[in-house]
């Protein structure tokens, strides 16, 4: 890996007795798209705030762009773009004014900010809404405006905390497309998500986090290869017969995962497993063969589902 732009070693954050981030290690290479995947409360946002040089770590080492955030918070932040989980656009200002004002925080000349603001509004597909009130924008538009705002200083690293949570499918796809373009332009992306499809779409490499710890690390494909089978067969027998059926299925597939409403059979060949199940005299109400996803990786690693 080339010299990383972010290096964390035994990075820890405690709030009183509660350990939100429990001694995690990771590196992010320049131009890489790096993800933190985990359920709510896993410590993703806390990690992001420490990387964003606004939250002071309790212990461990952290270096961003060769500087320690404890000593150089403002300098590091001058090179970051931040898209927080909760929108914090200024509702007293209009769309374009939000960008103008924000650009000034970085000490950029007004003319430069104005030029970039117009280009970014174009990029964020908001060029026709420049004079709109922030409150009148849809959720997807607000998020795109926040991304445009985060790009006003041409950041080296863009931090995105749950960028598409709460957006409808269409708005998510528009956003993914914009983020993909940034990635192509070489912007380093660090994002947290609890959506596996988002992680698969956008991340070159990711860490799976749970309860403040890193459970696994790798590319989405490598993680699936390592922690899951090629295919998954999902069978449903109805909730009252689920446990009973699961007992009879022992030995089918490489591994079984029994969920309250269905049973997951991990195997290289899902269809073949379904046939075996039928031969055993079991007749599922519904069955579905699909490819393994990061959801399965998470389930394997933690015994819990990502979205609860």
């Amino acid at each position: 890996m080339p010299q990383p732009v972010i290096t964390a070693r035994k990075l820890t954050k405690k709030y009183g007795d509660f350990t939100a981030v429990d001694g995690i290690d990771f590196d992010v290479a320049p131009g890489e798209s790096f993800g933190l995947l985990g359920p709510n409360g896993a410590g993703k946002s806390t990690t992001m705030r420490m990387v964003g040089a606004v939250s002071t770590r309790t212990a461990g080492d952290l270096e961003i762009l060769g500087l320690d955030p404890n000593d150089h918070g403002p300098d590091i932040r001058s090179q970051l773009g931040v898209v927080p989980q909760q929108d914090n656009l200024d509702q007293e200002l209009r769309v374009r004014d939000n960008l103008l004002v924000y650009g000034r925080y970085f000490g950029l000349p007004r003319a430069v900010v104005a030029e970039r603001a117009d280009a970014l509004l174009e990029f964020a597909q908001l060029a026709d809404r420049t004079k709109a009130k922030v409150d009148d924008l849809s959720g997807g538009m607000k998020r795109r405006l926040t991304i445009a705002r985060a790009l006003i200083n041409e950041p080296r690293i863009l931090l995105l905390d749950e960028p598409t949570t709460g957006l409808d499918p269409q708005a998510r796809h528009i956003l993914w497309d914009r983020l993909f373009r940034l990635k192509e332009q070489g912007t380093t992306l660090v994002l947290t998500t609890h959506y596996m499809d988002e992680a698969e779409q956008l991340c070159d490499r990711l860490v799976v986090v749970d309860k403040g710890r890193i459970m696994a690390e790798g590319s989405p494909a490598a993680l699936i290869r390592e922690y899951s089978s090629r295919e998954v067969l999902e069978v449903r027998f109805g909730s009252d017969r689920n446990a009973e059926a699961a007992a009879k299925l022992q030995g089918v597939g490489e591994r079984l995962e029994v969920l309250p409403d269905r049973i997951l059979v991990y195997s290289a060949n899902g269809e073949a497993e379904l046939e075996r199940i039928t031969q055993l005299g079991l007749h599922p109400i519904t069955s579905l063969v699909r490819r393994s996803s990061l959801e399965d990786v998470f389930l394997r690693l933690t015994g819990r589902s990502l979205i609860e």
Binding site: S55, G66, G73, R77, E92, G107
Partner: protein, 283 residues
């Protein structure tokens, strides 16, 4: 032959990153407070109407009610000056207090909670202390402008007789800022809105306005109520204003106490507010 260190290019790339960050961080470190002030002024567009009414409308209403209406009941004046002359410095200080109390109450709750722009500012190179500084630069400007307009109107009514009267603008503004800093040191700690703002108005601002020697000399109050005046920044500011606008006689040590009290309250309030902001943003 020279030996090359394979890690050298990577290391120099990182040094270059660090150098660039330090260069880009230099301007916000120095001028960040002014960028925030610029933002607050720009955001005033949204409530310009209210601000103008506060600057022109309120003073006129009070001047007519008190200076013209109530004054007719006190034809002999107070302490050797007309009643209008007597209340004018108090009204200026109270006008300043109205502006600063407004700007340091809801906007701070708003910025942390309902529209958390302070977190947005802090994600850029701006620090918590700079946000507070910038807010107070803006508040100071707004206050001085408001009080100056007020002072001009009072002068038209003929209530300013001392050549040093215009200094009353700064005394009144300083009074407002000291009260504002005290309020913000409290409002910056509020995490849940349980009507504290209304309580502050009812049991803080209103009593200050009524019992600070505003409408009658403090000595008129029973002795046991007079300490309210001594701890009231509004009383100190009003008395100082009276010294300047019509040359009220008081010992020099007392004048110095007024100045010291207001400056100290402002400094301590600002310090505490900056501290609260810095802590709250670092979560």
């Amino acid at each position: 032959m020279t030996t090359t260190d394979p890690a050298a290019p990577a290391e120099s790339a990182q040094r270059e990153d660090a150098r660039r960050s330090l260069a880009a961080g230099a301007a916000p470190r120095r001028f960040g407070s002014w960028y925030i002030a610029e933002h607050r002024i720009r955001a005033m567009k949204g409530y310009a109407g209210d601000a103008i009414f506060q600057s022109f409308g309120n003073p006129l209403i009070y001047l007519f009610a008190l200076g013209v209406g109530l004054a007719s009941l006190v034809p002999q004046g107070v302490e050797g000056v007309s009643y209008l002359q007597f209340v004018a410095p108090a009204l200026m200080a109270a006008a300043a207090m109205t502006v600063t109390a407004n700007e340091t109450s809801y906007p701070i709750l708003l910025g942390f909670k309902w529209n958390p722009i302070f977190f947005g500012m802090n994600a850029s190179p701006i620090t918590g202390a700079q946000i507070v500084n910038g807010m107070f630069i803006h508040i100071a400007l707004r206050t001085v402008v408001t009080v100056a307009i007020y002072c001009g109107i009072i002068a038209l009514f003929g209530a300013i007789t001392s050549p040093l009267g215009w200094l009353g603008i700064f005394v009144a503004s300083m009074t407002g800022l000291a009260i504002g800093a005290a309020i913000s040191s409290y409002t910056s700690t509020i995490t849940e809105d349980r009507g504290q703002m209304a309580m502050l108005q009812r049991f803080g601002i209103t009593p200050l306005f009524l019992f600070s020697g505003t409408f009658f000399p403090l000595e008129q109050l029973p002795v046991f109520l007079q300490p309210i005046g001594w701890i009231s920044p509004l009383w100190h500011g009003t008395e100082l204003g009276r010294v300047l606008t019509y040359g009220m006689a008081e010992p020099a040590w007392l004048t110095a106490t007024h100045v010291g009290y207001l400056v100290t309250l402002f400094a301590v309030g600002l310090w505490a507010t900056r501290r609260h902001f810095t802590r709250r943003l670092d979560k």
